[in-house]
C-alpha cells in the first residue's frame, strides 16, 4: 500500500514537474479570517511565482482540528503544511515522525532575523534541537473587567491581588446580589484544553511563569499553585464564581470579570457593539496573590500556535512550501495584514515596539495593546506528549474536588501531582 502511495505521489509530482509547476496545499485554521489571510497570501505569491500552485483550504473542524490532521496523515492525504498546531500536539506529531524541521532548510536563520523572532522562537525548540513549528501568533490571556460596573462600585481600575478581587466581589454582591464576579462553567468540566483558560492563566501569573512540567519532571511552583486553588475556592464559597452555564455573562454585565483572548473582539464588535474598550471594559494582567510584588511583571498563559510542514509530502513540495512560508513571514507588512484581518497579534519579538504595528494598533485596535505588552510574559502550552491526560487529570483530580470541598487546596494539588507520575516516564 505504501509503495503504491509513494508511486502515485511520485507520478503526480513528476507530472507537475514536467508541466513546470509544483502543486502544494495549505490548511488554514478553521477560522474564516485566517483563511482569508492565507488565501490572499497564496494569490499574491502565485502571481509572482507561476511555477507554484497553492491550494488553501480550512482544516477539518470536527471533531477537533487535531483529530482532522491525524486522520489526514493516517489516510495519506495530509496537506503540505498547515497552521493551528500548538506545541503539545506538535510534540505528538514529532514523536510520530510526521513533521519536517523548518531549520533544515537553507535560509532559516534569515527568516528568524527577518521576522524578528529570535527570542520568541526559543520556546519552540524541541528536545532534539530542531524547530518543527514556526509560531504564527501568540495570544496572551488577560483578564477583562466591566469597568462601567466597577466605577458604579467606586473603583477606577481593576483589582490587582486576590484580596482586592474578593473585596470587589463582596462589594458587588452587596450592591447587585444577582451578579457574579466570574462565570467559569468549564471549571467543573474535565475537558483538558479548558485548563488553558482558567488554571494555567492564574498559575503562571502567581508563579512568575514557572513551568508546570519540564521534560518528565514536575517543576511547578507548589506555593503558587495552592494559592490559585485557594483563590478559586474562596470565589466559589463567597458565591462570586458561578460554575453553572449562563445564557449571557460578561457581555451583558451579569458578571464583571472574564479571562479573554483577542479573538473575542471581532465577535463582540458584531454582536455587542456597546462593549467599548476603556468605556465599558478594560484589560489587566491576571490577578495575583497578595504577596506578589507590585513592581514585578505578571506572567500569563499564551495561546500560541504555528505552522508545520508534513513529512508525508514530496521533497519538492516541502521546498516549495518553505519558500512560500519564508516569503509570507519575512515581510512585516504581511504581519500587519495578519493583524488587520484576524485581529490577533503575530508572534514577533517586536510586536509591541515596532511602529508599523503599534501605530496601527493604537489607532484602530487599542484593546490589542495590552496583549502586545504581555507577549513577553506569556508562557506557551506544556510540550509533554501526554499533555491531554496531564491536563484532564488536573480537572478531575484537583480542581473539581477542591471546588466541591472534597479535598483541601493542598491535598488537591498533591493528588494531581501523584496522579500524573505514571504519565511522566
Amino acid at each position: 500500500m505504501r509503495i503504491l502511495k509513494a508511486a502515485f505521489l511520485g507520478i503526480v509530482v513528476l507530472g507537475m514537474a514536467a508541466a513546470g509547476q509544483v502543486e502544494i496545499t495549505f490548511w488554514s485554521a478553521p477560522n474564516p479570517s485566517q483563511e482569508v489571510f492565507w488565501r490572499q497570501m497564496a494569490e499574491a505569491y502565485m502571481a509572482a511565482h507561476p511555477e507554484v500552485k497553492i491550494t488553501v483550504s480550512p482544516m477539518p473542524e470536527t471533531p477537533t482540528s487535531e483529530a482532522g490532521i491525524l486522520a489526514a496523515i493516517a489516510g495519506g492525504v495530509a496537506p503540505t503544511a498547515s497552521e493551528n498546531v500548538f506545541i503539545g500536539f506538535g510534540s505528538e506529531l514529532v514523536r510520530s515522525r510526521a513533521l519536517v524541521p523548518w531549520n533544515t532548510f537553507a535560509g532559516w536563520e534569515d527568516l528568524v532575523r527577518a521576522r524578528n523572532i529570535s527570542a520568541t522562537i526559543k520556546c519552540w525548540e524541541f528536545p532534539d534541537g530542531n524547530y518543527y513549528i514556526i509560531p504564527m501568533y501568540v495570544n496572551a490571556m488577560l483578564t477583562a473587567w466591566r469597568i462601567d460596573i466597577l466605577r458604579e462600585l467606586g473603583y477606577e481600575k481593576p483589582p490587582r491581588t486576590y484580596s482586592e478581587v474578593l473585596a470587589l466581589g463582596e462589594r458587588l454582591k452587596a450592591v447587585y446580589p444577582d451578579k457574579f464576579l466570574w462565570l467559569r462553567s468549564e471549571l467543573e468540566v474535565p475537558t483538558w484544553w479548558q485548563r488553558w483558560f482558567d488554571f494555567f492563566v492564574f498559575y503562571y501569573a502567581a508563579s512568575k511563569g514557572q513551568p508546570l512540567i519540564t521534560g518528565n519532571t514536575i517543576t511547578a511552583d507548589d506555593k503558587a499553585a495552592v494559592e490559585v486553588l485557594r483563590f478559586f475556592k474562596a470565589l466559589r464559597d463567597k458565591k462570586l464564581l458561578i460554575t453553572e452555564p449562563l445564557a449571557e455573562g460578561f457581555e451583558v454585565g451579569k458578571t464583571v470579570m472574564t479571562v479573554l483572548g483577542p479573538w473575542t473582539f471581532p465577535w463582540w464588535k458584531e454582536n455587542y457593539p456597546e462593549l467599548v474598550y476603556g468605556e465599558t471594559f478594560v484589560l489587566s494582567p491576571p490577578p495575583v496573590p497578595d504577596w506578589y510584588p507590585a513592581t514585578e511583571p505578571v506572567y500569563t498563559f499564551a495561546d500560541a500556535k504555528g505552522v508545520v510542514l508534513y513529512a508525508q509530502t514530496a521533497p519538492e513540495q516541502q521546498k516549495a512550501m518553505w519558500d512560500f512560508i519564508r516569503w509570507v513571514l519575512s515581510d512585516p507588512e504581511h504581519d500587519l495584514l495578519w493583524i488587520k484581518i484576524t485581529g490577533m497579534l503575530p508572534a514577533r519579538d517586536d510586536v509591541g515596539t515596532n511602529p508599523l504595528f503599534t501605530a496601527y494598533v493604537e489607532e484602530k485596535e487599542p484593546a490589542l495593546l495590552p496583549y502586545a505588552k504581555s507577549i513577553a510574559f506569556a508562557v506557551p502550552p506544556i510540550a509533554h506528549p501526554q499533555f491531554v491526560e496531564i491536563q484532564e487529570r488536573m480537572g478531575l483530580e484537583c480542581i473539581y474536588p477542591v471546588l466541591t470541598g472534597e479535598l483541601s487546596p493542598e491535598a488537591g494539588w498533591e493528588a494531581w501531582k501523584t496522579s500524573i507520575k505514571d504519565l511522566l516516564k
Binding site: 483529530a67 493516517a74 510520530s96 468540566v189 453553572e244 445564557a247 491531554v388 478531575l396
Partner: protein
C-alpha cells in the same frame, strides 16, 4: 433460471452488502487488529503490546464508570422511552384525522441535530434562564442541572427519551394498525372495557413491537455520545461518562487508537451480552404469557 433469480437477489442486496463490508466488516477487522498495538495511527512505529490494552481497560476507572453509567442511563431511558413512545402511538392511533401529520411531527426530534438540541437544552437550563428564574422565585433555589451528578444523568436521559420517543412510536403505531378491529368489537360485545381490551388485546398483540423497541432502546444506551459531549463533557466526576466518550477521548484526543479499539471491543461485548440477556428475559416472559 435459478441462478438468474439468485443473481437478481444478490444484485438487489448488493448496496447493503457493499456498505456493510466497507463501513462495518473492514473497520471491525481493522479495529480488532489494532487492539494488540500501542499506536496513534500515524507513527511509523507500531509497538506490539499483546493484551496490555485490555488489561489497562479492565482496571480503568474511566471504563468502569462508562460501563456503570450505561446501566444508569438504561434504567431511565428504557422504561421512559417505552412508556412515552407507546403513549404517543396510542394517542396518534386514536386521533380521528391527521394521524400521519402528527406521527411525522413526533418523529422530527429524531432527525434533529444532537448538538443543536444540546445547545437548546443548555440554554433552557442555564442559571439565568426564565425557567430557573421561575424556580428560584417559587422555591427559593434551582437545581444545578448539569453540574449535579444525579440531575445531569436525568437531564441527558430525558433528552434521549424525547429524541427517540417519536421514532419508536412509529414502530408501535405500525403494530397497533396491524391489530384487527374485529377483536376489539368482539371484546366489546363480551363486555370488556377499554382497560381490559388494552391489557388483553393490545398489549399481547404489540409484543413484537415491544420486543423490537426494547432491544433498540437497550442498544441505544451503549451508543450515547452527543448529549454528554455537548452538555457535561462526561462530568461531573464521570457521572455522565459513556463508552463512546471514552473511545473518542482515547482515540482522538489522546491519540491512543489501539487502546481506544480495545475499549470499543469491550463496549461491543457489553452491548452484545446485555442485549442477549434482556432478549432472553423478555422472550421467556413473552412465552410464559403466551405472547409468542
Amino acid at each position: 433460471m435459478k441462478w438468474q433469480k439468485e443473481l437478481g437477489g444478490w444484485l438487489l442486496a448488493s448496496p447493503y452488502l457493499l456498505s456493510a463490508v466497507l463501513f462495518f466488516l473492514i473497520p471491525l477487522g481493522w479495529s480488532i487488529s489494532l487492539v494488540f498495538f500501542d499506536w496513534n495511527l500515524i507513527s511509523p512505529v507500531r509497538t506490539y503490546i499483546g493484551l496490555d490494552n485490555f488489561r489497562e481497560a479492565l482496571s480503568s476507572t474511566r471504563v468502569y464508570n462508562a460501563f456503570l453509567n450505561t446501566y444508569k442511563f438504561m434504567a431511565i431511558i428504557v422504561p421512559g422511552v417505552l412508556v412515552s413512545s407507546l403513549s404517543l402511538a396510542l394517542i396518534v392511533h386514536h386521533l380521528p384525522r391527521l394521524k400521519q401529520f402528527y406521527a411525522v411531527g413526533f418523529f422530527l426530534p429524531y432527525l434533529a441535530s444532537g448538538v443543536a438540541i444540546g445547545l437548546v437544552v443548555r440554554g433552557l437550563l442555564a442559571y439565568d434562564s426564565p425557567f430557573n428564574e421561575f424556580l428560584r422565585q417559587v422555591f427559593g433555589s434551582s437545581p444545578r442541572w448539569l453540574r449535579d451528578p444525579v440531575w445531569a444523568v436525568l437531564v441527558i436521559g430525558f433528552m434521549i427519551i424525547w429524541k427517540f420517543s417519536g421514532y419508536y412510536a412509529l414502530i408501535f403505531l405500525a403494530g397497533l394498525q396491524g391489530i384487527p378491529r374485529e377483536l376489539y368489537e368482539a371484546a366489546s360485545l363480551d363486555g370488556a372495557g377499554p382497560f381490559t381490551q388494552f391489557r388483553k388485546i393490545t398489549l399481547p398483540l404489540l409484543y413484537p413491537a415491544f420486543y423490537t423497541v426494547l432491544v433498540l432502546a437497550v442498544g441505544l444506551c451503549f451508543g450515547i455520545f452527543t448529549e454528554p459531549y455537548v452538555l457535561t463533557g462526561g462530568g461531573p466526576r464521570f457521572a455522565t461518562h459513556t463508552w463512546q466518550l471514552e473511545i473518542y477521548y482515547q482515540a482522538f484526543e489522546r491519540f491512543r487508537a489501539g487502546y481506544g479499539a480495545a475499549v470499543a471491543v469491550f463496549n461491543a461485548l457489553a452491548t452484545f451480552i446485555s442485549i442477549l440477556i434482556i432478549r432472553r428475559i423478555v422472550e421467556a416472559w413473552g412465552a410464559r404469557r403466551g405472547f409468542r
